[in-house]
Symmetry: C2
Subunit: 440 residues, 2 copies
């Protein structure tokens, strides 16, 4: 049998072993999904702590049901994790789910992908199928991954191993769409890779959608998130203008939503958070420069987003000012630091950036977020969740809604707090004296 | 009875007379809709020609059924038109549907609204309700219209007359949503105006949605169209980059559409046309300057759009270049000059701008559009529709798809034309030699 026939046979009779590199928000749900569908999965993680958690069936990703992880680790024993990347040789297919952050200069940090590819190239056996799911700039699979793996392994793509790009579409907190039932875009390199990708992902994902190349698939994910970045930035800019014009942007958005065609609502906020939208478009901006092309929409959207923490700091300062208070020495209580409602993730959360700014101006900063017990920002400022007592609400000089967690008792907060800056339109159906409330 | 009670009573027993100023794409459908619902409508038009057409029941707006116009003019006689604006005094309510174009410096041309308000102020009777439907910048109703009418009439808003802003949402060619069944946003000035607006528009429109002020309603319409401008500009920019990267943007968009949440597809093209999207956002940019506010997203989107005709001219030039031809002296046949498919409207059509550019470079320009028999662009270049014969297709140096009318026989065109530039992804399911076809 040829290498292609061997892997297709293994997939067909479910004797295939899939390695998933990176057991975070993308990798662990994917690993659990494959294992729940009867496939042996070996998870590769640099973190000893995460590896130990997985191997004892302890879940740390809120989109995964605890029972599901426990079942595939303890009962069916189809999922296990390791820090030993030499075990890549045990795998027939490898799916890369490592982070692709930006560095301090907002350039792509390809280090995680590079290391994964070096590990793969040095350890994989002949006939391995490799799929990248991490968001990255178009051409990564063909021009970045392929040469590294070929160099490290001495083998040849299309003959000794196959490549594919298939973007993750994880939407943390989404109740309807999980790994299994979210349609999956797949961009294989060549016809053989397409056959393998179709069979392999078909084991666990309900609907696959093939595009003609890895770079098309890479562009798909960037388009999806660029769309969001641009529209959130647009509505943030319009919100700021509306504030100056004494127009309630939230009311405007609700009215625009009554248009039955050609409109999708986005909502303003203190900035853009999470691990996708603030980052992905800048991967495209990076590669565009290689083609002497300036992406002016992304650039402009990024500029608006960069300024939001300062504008939000100003909002708070002018709210305090109406109470004849300076920010310096005031106590400011932030409500919600997750980057979106009802999740426990504060990555790239705009709340942290606003907190950093007001801290710099001498404010005493407290936060309450039932989902996040403590947090250290990138400048090593450490904060711990405080209880939301009536006393605390009353003594804070300003209370700021930064995330609209649905569990917040807004009525009580409004009743007790002397001054509120509402960046999320949390207070909409409650009558409140206008001198007490500032909206974005 | 008070003036308020009188007009409400007239609306209740359908003895109200509504004046509609401007019988174009917005005003005539609205007038017909009211008349079809048993209300007497008097249409005001500066154009003698349009007035005569209406009064003889001859339809000139494709969204209106000929029979509907004929019925309300000839049978029920509820609709008539006049050029005599002194007859405004016969009306209980006036709805302004005049154009709001941009001038040559891309600043709002408020002349049509201003003239309508002068006519109203000089002629209206006490107790008239006035609603503006023309898209305009927020604050227009309160800060521009109200003072003119008060000045010209010597009467007082809220006592002698009432004001309202309710944006038209006409989408030419839309088969599902017409005037009657498109939800209507209404921003009345004050509670009395709200009562009248509710009763009056309720006679003919199925669903009304009230916002708290005219300026909120003004912002709603601008938000809707700014959303479209920004997203079309974004996808145009990404299409240009994709071209350089040898990625098919159309394939990417189709794949992104499989995301079941958080994405709405927009398609690239030679530019942005029609009477709304290329104009409305710049009304907002204009008023924003009054608040020392720069709308960077709109500005950037506008800049991309401005460049599209030149970029499209380059596409054509480089297509010809591959056939070793110069644009100067070549015959270029444009297919479709309406600003969107299957309509007869070429206002602000990007096709015209591309035609202008290639004409300047010495090309001989022909067009075929079954919906538009002749056209004169803003520089007085006159063009007439030509028949799409096999001979013409064969002898044109380049055929350019600028509008994707569904009636085009793409297969035949592809077979006969020696060189095609496809700006609308018209050619997707047809095999074609790659040297013959250039896509956006």
């Amino acid at each position: 049998m040829s290498g292609l026939e061997i892997i297709l046979q293994k997939i067909a009779d479910k004797t295939v072993t899939i390695g998933v590199i990176g057991l975070g928000y993308v990798g662990l749900p994917l690993a659990v999904t494959f294992a729940r569908n009867g496939v042996t999965v070996l998870g590769f993680e640099k973190s000893e702590k995460k590896t130990a958690l997985v191997n004892t069936g302890q879940n740390y990703i809120s989109d995964i049901k605890n029972a599901d992880l426990e079942t595939v680790v303890k009962n069916t024993k189809l999922l296990s994790a390791t820090t030993d990347f030499s075990r890549i040789k045990e795998c027939d297919a490898i799916i890369i789910c490592v982070p692709t952050p930006l560095d301090k200069f907002k350039e792509p940090d390809m280090g995680y992908i590079e290391n994964a590819c070096i590990d793969i190239g040095r350890n994989m056996k002949a006939g391995t199928f490799i799929s990248l799911e991490s968001t990255t700039y178009p051409t990564t699979t063909e021009n970045f991954i392929k040469p590294i793996i070929e160099r490290e392994s001495g083998s040849k793509e299309g003959r000794d191993f196959w490549l594919c790009f298939s973007p993750e579409r994880v939407d943390p907190g989404n109740k309807d769409y999980k790994t299994e039932n979210t349609p999956k875009v797949v961009g294989p390199l060549g016809e053989d890779a397409k056959k393998i990708a179709n069979a392999l992902y078909g084991l666990a994902i309900q609907k696959l959608y093939f595009v003609s190349s890895p770079k098309a698939a890479e562009m798909v994910k960037i388009l999806e998130n660029t769309y969001r970045l641009v529209n959130i930035s647009l509505i943030n800019e319009l919100a700021l203008l509306s504030g100056k014009m004494d127009i309630d942007i939230w009311e405007v958005i609700e009215a625009a939503k009554t248009k039955p065609y050609g409109f999708q609502a986005f909502y303003p906020g203190p900035g853009i958070g999470g691990h996708c939208i603030p980052l992905d478009p800048f991967y495209l901006e990076y590669i565009a420069k290689n083609y002497n092309f300036d992406l002016s929409m992304i650039h402009t959207a990024g500029a608006i987003n960069n300024l939001m923490p300062y504008r939000m700091m100003n909002k708070i300062a002018f709210a305090l000012n109406r109470h004849k208070k300076a920010m310096n020495g005031s106590t400011i209580l932030f409500l919600g630091i997750a980057y979106k409602p009802d999740i426990d993730d504060a990555r790239e959360s705009p709340a942290l950036l606003v907190m950093e700014q007001v801290t710099k101006k001498g404010a005493r900063v407290l936060y309450h977020d039932p989902y996040i017990h403590e947090i250290t920002d990138e400048h090593e400022n450490h904060y711990e969740n405080v209880d939301l007592t009536d006393e605390l609400l009353a003594k804070a000089d300003c209370v700021v809604f930064t995330t609209n967690h649905s569990c917040f008792d807004v009525e009580r907060i409004v009743a007790k707090a002397p001054l509120i800056v509402d960046m999320r339109n949390v207070i909409k159906n409650i009558k409140i004296e206008s001198h007490k409330i500032f909206k974005l």
